[in-house]
């Protein structure tokens, strides 16, 4: 119900993309279709234009092919080879990864705020950890974790956490440092302990930053989980489906799975948005007009100006 105002502009963008995609699809497929016709392949179509939407391995799949492929891959809903269960597994790995990343991120962020030396000593290494290609490090991590009997979804969640902890560390550190010097002085006039200053000021002040970081980290974690599934032995997950269909050269299925993972990303970020609204009720509602209107209403009711 909250999503409905976003739905119309979102659909407009989808239609525009589709309108641009259609001619591009023909442009890409017609030469391939022509070649297929020239070689005398048995095709259920006569012209290159007609065949462009019906190739078994199109350069770009036609919307109709995508639609059919989507129908094939979504159902039955509980099939181990269909998208729903695999997407759920990937989503689970992503969310667990994000939570792991939050724990690690908080630990580093507090360290960085509490001690300049800690920040100077560790930040370069944290940055370095993010420049290692995840596709290279994922199989090695899985082998390493496998040594200790960590198998299945957990290594994927750990790899997701590996890329997600960076935006969380930076975001939370910024959030913990965000209180105004005056607010810190205020706590000092109360003779508040360090712990009280964290509890009453720094942690609550960092919450909006945390959610912003979560949104960035969530998309990173999703990519991490999928890459981890692709580059290791997996029995479930979006990444496993991508790897399988890649081996089978099923272009249409690849596209359908890719688009599904995009939708999964949107849903996961929407989940963070929803949690943000739930957990930060004090934040002003977006849209500038809401504030003066509310204030005016308030002033009239209470008779203040």
């Amino acid at each position: 119900m909250r999503i409905s105002p976003n739905l119309v502009p979102m659909l407009v963008v989808a239609l525009v993309v589709l309108a641009l995609y259609w001619p591009l699809m023909y442009l890409a497929n017609i030469p391939v279709a022509q070649r297929a016709l020239d070689t005398g392949a048995a095709l259920p179509c006569q012209t290159a234009f007609e065949c462009a939407t019906q190739l078994r391995s199109p350069v770009l799949p036609s919307p109709q092919q995508l639609w059919n492929g989507f129908g094939n891959l979504m159902f039955p809903l509980n099939s181990p080879n269909a998208i729903p269960i695999n997407a759920a597994v990937t989503a689970f790995e992503t969310v667990v990864g994000l939570l792991l990343a939050a724990v690690v991120g908080f630990f580093f962020a507090i360290g960085m705020v509490a001690s300049r030396a800690f920040e100077r000593a560790l930040l370069p290494w944290i940055v370095a950890s993010q420049t290692v290609p995840i596709i290279a490090i994922a199989p090695m991590l899985v082998v390493l974790l496998g040594q200790y009997g960590v198998q299945g979804w957990l290594p994927k969640a750990i790899i997701a956490a590996y890329i997600a902890f960076f935006p969380i560390t930076i975001g939370v550190a910024k959030g913990l440092k965000s209180p105004d010097p005056m607010a810190l002085d205020l706590m000092k006039t109360y003779n508040a302990s360090h712990w009280q200053t964290y509890l009453k000021l720094r942690f609550p002040a960092s919450v909006p930053y945390l959610f912003t970081a979560f949104k960035v980290a969530m998309t990173a974690a999703l990519i991490g989980a999928i890459v981890a599934e692709i580059s290791t032995i997996s029995f479930q997950g979006i990444g496993k489906m991508l790897a399988e269909n890649s081996r089978a050269s099923d272009v249409v299925a690849m596209w359908v799975i890719m688009l599904s993972s995009a939708v999964l990303g949107i849903l996961l970020v929407a989940l963070v948005n929803w949690l943000e609204r739930l957990l930060t009720p004090w934040r002003r509602t977006s849209g500038g007009a809401a504030i003066p209107a509310k204030q005016a209403r308030l002033s009239r009711r209470e008779g203040v100006g």
């Binding site: 005056m182 003779n191 209470e302 203040v304």
Partner: protein
């Protein structure tokens, strides 16, 4: 150096019951700036003292020294017979900052309860005290509102209620109304005087508005820059309780002129910042 011109008040100031005593206090910042030079000041219980002067005259520095937010380079400060640090740890004063510094995630009532939580007041007592303080500043109806739903003046009233919540004897106010429009400011001035009368607190108030200082104070400490120092102390003999009409009396203008001339004498008028 100390130019306390009222015999009655200086007698009061020099006795042992002075709640604030500043003796030969200087403040030199690490970059070499002399923010305050050889300040001397005695403040008696129940006074309303304004520190006035242009930017860079050390008035906020002096207040921060009293509050133990910074420590002096030399000299002695006693707050109720204690060092500023002991006084801060004994929660002897409430501090109102230039900005309301309310916690945006707490509603008005919960903001006023903040110091009570930090100071471990009994849970049952927190709400009652906070509600009483909100009533004192006339905002009891807004207890459930969030800070962003209030005007700037209302936010600053909440921060005053918060500073008074744990019932300190001293109230330090650092240009609390500086960001507000003239009309709101005059209203809050009246309200602050009422609060001062009702609670019997000692208030030390930093401002750069001459009318505000004259209207509020029992004594005005005129400060001048480069280096920051106390130029003179002007007692204000306007009768209490002061009203809107007080600002239109001849005596009010005379006192405002006296403050202005003291500022000019110390070159407090030629500051460009």
């Amino acid at each position: 150096m100390q130019a306390n011109t009222s015999p009655e008040l200086s007698a009061k100031g020099s006795n042992a019951a002075a709640i604030v005593s500043v003796q030969g206090v200087s403040m030199v910042f690490p970059n070499g700036t002399v923010a305050l030079k050889d300040a001397n000041l005695e403040i008696a219980q129940g006074e309303f003292i304004s520190l006035i002067g242009p930017s860079g005259c050390g008035k906020t520095t002096l207040l921060r020294l009293l509050a133990d937010l910074i420590q002096p380079s030399s000299g002695t400060i006693r707050i109720g017979g204690k060092s500023p640090e002991e006084a801060r740890k004994a929660r002897a004063y409430g501090y109102v900052f230039q900005a309301p510094t309310l916690m945006e995630w707490r509603n008005v009532l919960s903001n006023v309860m903040l110091p009570l939580e930090v100071m471990n007041f009994p849970v049952q007592e927190r709400r009652a005290r906070a509600e009483r303080m909100l009533a004192l500043v006339g905002l009891e109806k807004f207890a459930r509102h969030y800070p962003w739903q209030l005007s700037g003046g209302m936010q600053q009233r909440v921060s005053i209620a918060r500073a008074l919540a744990f019932d300190p004897q001293l109230l330090f106010m650092d240009e609390p109304f500086g960001a507000l429009d003239e009309i709101t400011r005059e209203n809050l001035n009246l309200e602050l005087l009422r609060l001062w009368r009702e609670t019997g607190k000692t208030i030390i108030f930093v401002t750069h508005s001459i009318p505000e200082a004259v209207f509020l104070s029992t004594r005005i400490v005129v400060m001048t820059p480069r280096p920051g120092k106390i130029e003179t102390v002007i007692p204000v003999d306007l009768p209490q309780p002061r009203t809107f009409e007080t600002r239109e009396t001849t005596r009010f203008f005379e006192l405002a002129t006296a403050v202005r001339e003291a500022l000019r004498k110390g070159h407090g008028y030629e500051v460009t910042e």
